[in-house]
C-alpha cells in the first residue's frame, strides 16, 4: 500500500456523535399512515373505499347496539320502547337466555347441574391440554366424564360408577391377556367390561335411590348445552378412534387395513346429515324394540364416526410425512410396535397434524348444529323451532343469530388459539 493511500484510509474517531431523534415526518403515526395506507394512488383509493365500508357498517351497527333495549317481554313491547328508532331488541336474549343455553325442556330448577358440570370442565380439561400441570390432576380428568354424566342426566350414581369400573376392569384384563395375543386381549376385555356393566345395571335398578339426582331424559337436552355435550364428547372420542383408524390403514394385516380403508372411504363419501337421519330413524328400526338406546347416544356415535374418518386421514398425512428412518431407528432399538408408535411415531405425527385436527374439531363442533334438522333442540333448533316460532318473538332474527354466532365464535376461537399455542410449545426441531 502506498503512503498516500494510507493517509486517506486511516481514520480514528475522536468524538462521539450524540444520538438524535429521527426527523419529525419520518417517525410515528404520520409516517406509518403514509407508508401503509397511501403509498400509491391505488392504495389510497383502496384505503378510502375501506374507510367508507367501515363507516357504513359502524353507522348501522353502533346505533343498533347502543339504542338497543333489554326491556319488554315480546317483540311488540320492544317496538313500543324503541318507537321506530333503529335499535336491537335484546330483550329476547334476556328473556330466553335459559332456553338458549339449556333448551326448553330441561327443568329450570335443575339448571345448576349442567352449569356445575360446565364449571368443572375448566378443572378437568386443563391437565389434558397443558402438560406442564402436575400429572396427578389427570385423575380428575378421568373421573370428569362420569361425574358430568351424573350431573347432567341425573339418576343414581351407581350407573356412572359401574360404567367407569367396567372400563377399568376391561383395561386391566386387556393388559393381562394382550401379552398372549392382541385380539384375544381385546375380546377378553370386552367380555369382562360387559359383565361388569350388566352387573352394574342390575345393581343400579335395585338401588336406584342411592345418591340419586332427579333424572332428566335425553330428549330434554337442548340449547348450547347440547352443542357443547356433542362437541366435547365427539371430539374426545373421535381423536383416539381416528388415531386407531390411521394406524390401521397402515397395517400390514390385510383384514385390518381393508376394514379401515373401507370405513374411512365410506364415511367420507356420505354427508353427515344423512348419517344423522340414519341415526334418527334407521338405527332405531334395526334395534330390538324396547332397547333403551337413546337418540343422543346414536347421534354421538354417528358424529364420532364421521369425525374420526376425517381425523384418521389428517393423521395419515402426518404419519406419511415422517421419514422412514424414524420407524427404523425405533425398530433397531428393540422397541415393539406399540412402544415405537406411542413414543416415537405418534408424538411427531400428531404434532404435524395439529392444524388439520383442529380444523376437523372446529368443523365438528359447528356441525353439531345439524342435529336441529332431526328435530333436536340445540342452539339453532331452539332459535328456529322454538323462539322464532313463538308469537312473542317472531321476526327477531338478527339479535338471536348474532348471539348464536358469538357463542360459537368464542369456543372456536379458543380452540384455534390453543392449537397455535400448542404448536409453539412443541416446536423442538429448530428449523
Amino acid at each position: 500500500m502506498s503512503d498516500t493511500h494510507e493517509e486517506t484510509i486511516a481514520f480514528v474517531r475522536e468524538s462521539e456523535i450524540p444520538a438524535a431523534p429521527p426527523p419529525e415526518r419520518q417517525a410515528g403515526a404520520i409516517r406509518w399512515v403514509r407508508d401503509n395506507l397511501f403509498s400509491t394512488w391505488f392504495n389510497a383509493i383502496v384505503t378510502l373505499v375501506a374507510l367508507y365500508v367501515i363507516w357504513w357498517l359502524l353507522s348501522g351497527l353502533i346505533p343498533w347496539i347502543v339504542n338497543g333495549t333489554w326491556e319488554g317481554s315480546s317483540v311488540l313491547e320492544c317496538r313500543e320502547i324503541l318507537q321506530g328508532e333503529t335499535g336491537g331488541c335484546f330483550s329476547v336474549l334476556r328473556e330466553r337466555w335459559s332456553q338458549l343455553l339449556f333448551g326448553f325442556q330441561y327443568p329450570p330448577s335443575l339448571h345448576w347441574r349442567p352449569t356445575l358440570a360446565f364449571a368443572l370442565l375448566f378443572v378437568a380439561v386443563p391437565p389434558a391440554l397443558f402438560f406442564k400441570l402436575p400429572r396427578w390432576m389427570l385423575v380428575f380428568t378421568a373421573v370428569y366424564p362420569f361425574l358430568a354424566y351424573w350431573l347432567i342426566w341425573g339418576g343414581t350414581i351407581i350407573t356412572p360408577v359401574f360404567a367407569a369400573i367396567g372400563l377399568v376392569v376391561g383395561y386391566l384384563v386387556f393388559v393381562r391377556v394382550e401379552k398372549r395375543s392382541f385380539m384375544l386381549g381385546l375380546f377378553a376385555a370386552l367380555v369382562a367390561a360387559t359383565v361388569v356393566w350388566w352387573f352394574g345395571g342390575v345393581i343400579a335398578d335395585e338401588f336406584s335411590r342411592v345418591a340419586r339426582l332427579r333424572p332428566v331424559a335425553s330428549r330434554a337436552m337442548g340449547g348450547f348445552m347440547l352443542n357443547m355435550i356433542l362437541g366435547i364428547v365427539c371430539v374426545s372420542l373421535s381423536l383416539p378412534l381416528g388415531i386407531l383408524l390411521a394406524l390401521g390403514r397402515q397395517s400390514r394385516l390385510p383384514v385390518v387395513k381393508g376394514f379401515c380403508v373401507i370405513f374411512i372411504e365410506f364415511i367420507r363419501g356420505v354427508p353427515l346429515i344423512t348419517l344423522l337421519f340414519v341415526a334418527n330413524v334407521i338405527l332405531a328400526f334395526f334395534l330390538p324394540p324396547g332397547t333403551n338406546f337413546d337418540l343422543i347416544l346414536r347421534v354421538i356415535i354417528m358424529i364420532t364416526l364421521f369425525a374420526s374418518a376425517y381425523i384418521a386421514e389428517v393423521i395419515r398425512g402426518g404419519l406419511a410425512a415422517l421419514p422412514k428412518g424414524q420407524y427404523e431407528a425405533g425398530d433397531s432399538l428393540g422397541l415393539n410396535y406399540a412402544q415405537s408408535m406411542r413414543l416415537i411415531i405418534l408424538p411427531q405425527a400428531l404434532k404435524i397434524s395439529i392444524p388439520g385436527i383442529v380444523n376437523v374439531a372446529v368443523g365438528l363442533f359447528k356441525d353439531t348444529t345439524l342435529v336441529s334438522v332431526i328435530s333436536m333442540y340445540d342452539l339453532v333448533g331452539i332459535i328456529r323451532g322454538s323462539i322464532l316460532a313463538s308469537t312473542a318473538w317472531s321476526g327477531i332474527y338478527w339479535e338471536l343469530w348474532v348471539a348464536a354466532c358469538a357463542m360459537f365464535f368464542v369456543v372456536c376461537y379458543g380452540i384455534s388459539q390453543y392449537s397455535q399455542w400448542l404448536e409453539r410449545q412443541l416446536r423442538t426441531d429448530h428449523r
Binding site: 424414524q326 433397531s332 411427531q348 404434532k351 423442538t428 426441531d429
Partner: protein, 259 residues
Amino acid sequence: MTMTDTNPSGMKVSDEIAIEIRNMNKWYGQFHVLRDIDLTVRQGERIVVCGPSGSGKSTLIRCINALEEHQQGSIVVDGVPLSSDIKNIDRIRSEVGMCFQHFNLFPHLTILENCTLAPIWVRKVPKREAEETAMYFLEKVKIPDQARKYPGQLSGGQQQRVAIARSLCMRPRIMLFDEPTSALDPEMIKEVLDTMIQLAEEGMTMICVTHEMGFARQVANRVIFMDAGQIVEQNEPEAFFKNPQNERTKLFLSQILGH
C-alpha cells in the same frame, strides 16, 4: 483365506460366534439383491464392508437386525435364530445396535431422552439409572454438555455421536454401522471415526459399511468387498488393499484410492 486371532493393532478376538449367516438370499420383487451370502463373525471381530453403490451392503447389514426380511438361508445372531418370530426379532434387535447414515435421532426428544428411551422401555431400567448410563456414554462420545438440547441444535458430527451413544446405552453385544460418516462434512468425519475406533479398541463386535479406508486399515480384522449382491472378496486389510485378487475389487480400489 487365513484368519488370525489378533489383528494388526493386537485386539483380541474370541472363538465365540456372534453372527452366522448361511446361504442367505434376498429378493426385492424379482430383483435378486443378496445372493448366497455366507458370513461368520466372531465375538470381538471388526468387519468393514465396502463395494460399489447398489451392491447390497446396506441390505446385508439391515438383514442382520431384521430391518429387512430375507427369503432364504439362515441368520443366527448370538445364538438366536432370526425367524419371523417377533420375540426373537425383538430380542436380537435389543442386542444389536445400529447407526444410520442420516443419524435418525428422535427430533422431538432431548439428547438425554433419546438415549434413555430404549433402556427404560425395552430393558425396563429405572429412569435414574438409565440417565446415569446415558451420561456415561455421552461423556464417552464427548458431548455430555449437550444432554438437554434437541437433536436439531447439534452439528451433524455431534448428532452421529449421539446416535452411537444411544445405541450403546442398550449395551449391545454387536454394533452395525451403515455409512455413518458419508453424510458428514470432512472436519466432522474424524470425530465420529475417533469414537468408532475407541469402540473397536474396547473389543466391540462391529460391522461397518464404510468407504473410509484409513479406518478399515486401522481397526478392521477383515474387509469384505461386495458387488452385485455377492461377497466377492474378503481378507485382512493389509492383504486386501495391497494385493486384491478379484478384478472387480481391483477396479473398485483403484477408483476410491485413486483420488
